[in-house]
Symmetry: C2
Subunit: 433 residues, 2 copies
C-alpha cells in the first residue's frame, strides 16, 4: 500500500516544533520515503504507483500519539464501578470480574480498545495485561502497534513465561514487541523480582512497573524493606539496563536521583490519578532534573477513556496548579511527551517522527473545526483545545485504520460492541447469583 499525502501542514517533530507548509508525505508500504514541501517533491523522481493520494486540505499531519500505559482488555469494566474507594473498586469489582475473562474475551475487549485508540490518534500502546497472547493477536489482527510489558506478580504468570513472551514477541510480528516488566513491588515477591533482574541482565533489557502510585504503597515498602520502592528495586538490579515506572507520584529526592542516574522514564497518568484519588505527579520537578516523562491513559476502568488529548491538558494544567505557577510545564513540552518521549520509552524510536526512513505511524488533525481556530499557535491549540473529534485519519505501519469516522480494522465496530455488551450482561447475571 503506497500513499501520498499532499496539501498538508506537517509537524514532523524532528526539527523542534517547526511546521512545514504546503507539504507532502510519501509512504511506501510501511515506511515514510519523503517528507517535504511541494517544491522539494518536484525534484524527486517519482516512479511509485500510488494506491491512494490524499488531499489534506491544509490540515495537519503529525506523528501519532504514543499511549505509554494501558490495560486494553479492561474496556469491559468502563463505568461498571466508579465513584468508590480504590481498595473496594480493585478487590470487589476489578479482580473478581477479571478472573472470569477467557482468552477470547480478552481478544474481543482489546479490539474495543483499539477502536478507541485509533479514533483518538493513538498509534502505539504500551500495554500491560495477564494474557499477552490474546492482546498481541488482537493488535496484529486490527493493525495496532503494541509494545507489551510483563505483568507478572505473585498470583499470575512465571519468570519463565515472561522470558518466553519476551523471545516470542520480539521475533514475531513487526507490530508487536515486548518489554520486561512486573505488576508492582507490593504484589511481587523478592524472589520473583530477582529473577526479573536476572532476565534484565541476560538480555541487557529495560524493565517497567507500576511505581509509587499511592502514598500507602510507598509507606508499606518502607516498612517491609526500609527503602522506597524505587530504591528497593534499584538495589535488586531491576533498573540496571534502564526502564522506568508508571505513575511515579510519591518520589523522594533519592528516587529522582536514581531515575536520573539510570536514565529511567516516568510515565504519568493524570486522569487515572485524579479519578482514583492517588495524587498529582511532580512533573515540573522531573523536567528540571532532565528526567524523561511520557504519558499514558491507564486502563479504561480507572480513567475511563483512552484519550491522549485529555491527558495532555491534565499534564500541563495539573502541573500549573501543583506549582502554583501558570507558566509551569509548557504545553509544547507536553506534546513532546505524548509523542517523542513515549516512543523512546517504548523502544519505538523508528516510529517517533515524520522523517524519511521512519515507520509510517501518523495522524491527520482537522484544523477546520471551531476548537482549532483561529490559528495563533497550532501546537498549543492541540494541547489546550484539541479533541479526538479533530482526528481525521490514523495510519499505523503505513495502513489507514481510521478515516473520517470510519474504522478499517478488519471487524465491524458493531460486532465488537455487541460482544462487549454480552459480557456485561453476563457480569450482571453473575453478580445477582
Amino acid at each position: 500500500m503506497n500513499t501520498r499525502f499532499y496539501n498538508a501542514m506537517i509537524l514532523t517533530m524532528s526539527d523542534g516544533l517547526n511546521i512545514i507548509k504546503d507539504g507532502q508525505v510519501w509512504i511506501e508500504n510501511q515506511t515514510i520515503i519523503f517528507v517535504g514541501t511541494d517544491s522539494e517533491s518536484k525534484n524527486l523522481m517519482n516512479s511509485i504507483d500510488w494506491d491512494k493520494e490524499i488531499d489534506c486540505e491544509n490540515n495537519l499531519l503529525m506523528p501519532g500519539f504514543k499511549d505509554a500505559h494501558t490495560h486494553s482488555p479492561m474496556t469491559c469494566l468502563r463505568s461498571l464501578a466508579d465513584d468508590m474507594p480504590l481498595d473496594e473498586w480493585l478487590h470487589n469489582q476489578v479482580f473478581p470480574i477479571e478472573a472470569t475473562l477467557t482468552a477470547q474475551n480478552i481478544y474481543d475487549l482489546t479490539k474495543l480498545a483499539v477502536l478507541e485508540y485509533v479514533s483518538g490518534g493513538i498509534t502505539a500502546i504500551f500495554d500491560m495485561y495477564i494474557n499477552p497472547e490474546a492482546v498481541g493477536k488482537a493488535c496484529i489482527d486490527t493493525g495496532m502497534r503494541c509494545v507489551q510489558v510483563g505483568s507478572i506478580n505473585d498470583f499470575t504468570l512465571t519468570p519463565d513465561y515472561i522470558e518466553k513472551m519476551y523471545l516470542k514477541w520480539n521475533n514475531d510480528n513487526p507490530l508487536i514487541s515486548y518489554v520486561l516488566g512486573f505488576h508492582a513491588e507490593y504484589t511481587t515477591s523478592e524472589s520473583i523480582l530477582k529473577q526479573i533482574a536476572q532476565l534484565a541482565k541476560k538480555y541487557k533489557a529495560p524493565v517497567f512497573t507500576h511505581l509509587s502510585e499511592t502514598k500507602s504503597e510507598v509507606e508499606s515498602c518502607l516498612k517491609r524493606n526500609n527503602m522506597t520502592p524505587t530504591a528497593y528495586l534499584d538495589s535488586l538490579g531491576i533498573f540496571d539496563y534502564g526502564g522506568g515506572g508508571y505513575h511515579c507520584i510519591y518520589m523522594t529526592d533519592e528516587d529522582i536521583e536514581i531515575f536520573k542516574r539510570k536514565n529511567l522514564t516516568v510515565v504519568t497518568n493524570p486522569a487515572s490519578n485524579l479519578k482514583l484519588a492517588s495524587g498529582i505527579a511532580p512533573i515540573s520537578t522531573y523536567l528540571k532534573k532532565d528526567i524523561l516523562v511520557a504519558i499514558g491513559t491507564d486502563g479504561p476502568a480507572s480513567n475511563n477513556c483512552l484519550d491522549m488529548f485529555r491527558e495532555m491538558f491534565l499534564v500541563t494544567g495539573l502541573a500549573k496548579y501543583r506549582e502554583n505557577d501558570a507558566s509551569a510545564v509548557d504545553a509544547n513540552e507536553v506534546l513532546k511527551m505524548a509523542t517523542l518521549n513515549g516512543a523512546y520509552a517504548m523502544g519505538l524510536t523508528n516510529a517517533d517522527t515524520l522523517e524519511k526512513g521512519k515507520l509510517a505511524d501518523l495522524i491527520m488533525i482537522d484544523l477546520n473545526q471551531p476548537n482549532m481556530q483561529p490559528i495563533n499557535n497550532i501546537t498549543k491549540n492541540i494541547v489546550y483545545s484539541g479533541n479526538k473529534q479533530n482526528v481525521k485519519l490514523t495510519m499505523i505501519n503505513g495502513k489507514i485504520l481510521y478515516e473520517n469516522g470510519n474504522f478499517y480494522i478488519g471487524e465491524e465496530p458493531q460486532n465488537i460492541y455487541k460482544k462487549a455488551n454480552e459480557l456485561v450482561e453476563k457480569f450482571a447475571f453473575l453478580s445477582k447469583k
Copy 2:
C-alpha cells in the same frame, strides 16, 4: 419547524437519571409536545405535519449542556499567550488586544464560539462581555440561546447602561435574556456596587460576578474592606435577590453560610482554574451544604476550549483528588450540575429537562462509538469517557444548529474562521509595530 425523534433512548432528567427506552420526542416549533415510549405515542392523536423525522438509531437524547460561565468573543485570544503568569497574561496580552476589538469583531468572534458550543452539545451560555449588543446579535443570528450578564467595572460601562441592557434584552428576542452583574469586587468601586445593588432591589433580580477566584483577590479585599469579597458584597445588598459567583475557590465558612442563606449558585470553572494556577474549588463542601453548583468553561483565552465534557470530568476528578477520596462528588451529580443546575442559575428552568411544555433545547449523544461502549452505565459513560465527538445533533429552541458534523447557523464556518485569522494577523502586525 416540527420535528419527530424516534427510536431513541431518552434521558429526560425530569425523573432522576431514569432512561426511557424505545422512546420518541416530538417538537412543535420551539416547544416539546411529547416525550414517551413508542407505545405511549400510539395513543396520541397525531395531526402534526412533520418537517423532519429523525431515526435516533437507539442513540441518546438528553437536555443540552448549560455552559454557565463564558466570555465568547475571546476566541481570538485562544493559544495566543499561554504558559505565562496570570498577571502578565491579563495585562500584557488580554487587555491590550481586547481594547482594539470593534463591535463587528466581537460579533464575528462570538459566532466562532457558537460553532464550538453547538459542536459540543452546549445549548445555552451565561456570557459576560463588554459589548452585549454585539454578542446578543451574534447569538440571535446563529440561533444560540444566551443569558447575558452585566460586566460593568470602573473602566467600562455604567449602571445606567446595565439597566438599559437589562430592560432591552429581557423584552426582545426569546433566545436572549439578561442578568444583573459586574466584573468583580476588585475592579469595581463601592459607589458602582451600591448602584448595582439598587438595581437588584428595584427589579428583585439576582446578581452574578467573578468571586474569590484567587487567593490574592480575597486578601486584597480583606485588607481594603476587612471582609471577604462575599461578605463585603452581601453587606452592600448585592445578593439580596439571589445570584451567585463564578469560580468561588477561596471561600470561608462564613462565605459558604451566606451562599446557603441567600440561595446563591456557585459556578465552577475547573479547567480555567488549573490553567491559570488559581486553585481547586471545594465542590464536595458545597454539595454537603446543599449549595447549588453549576459548571462553566470560562473564556477561550483561559481554558482554551469550550467543552463541557472536559469540565465535567474535571469537576469529579479534581474533587476526588482534593478530598483524597475516590468516592467524592459522584459523576451523576456532575451531570446534573452541567444541565439542571446551570439552567436554574441562568433562569432557564423552561429549558432544563425533556418534558412536555419545555423549550426544545436538546442533544443527541452517539452511543455507537468505542468510548461509549460497553453500556454498563450511560450517565457515567457521559461524564467519565464522553467526548464532544459523541455529539451527533444539537437543537436549540426547536432548531437544529448542528448535525453529523454540519453546522446550520446561517454563515459558513470557513467564513468565520477566515475573519478570526485576519484579526490574528492584525494583532501580530500591531505587536510588531
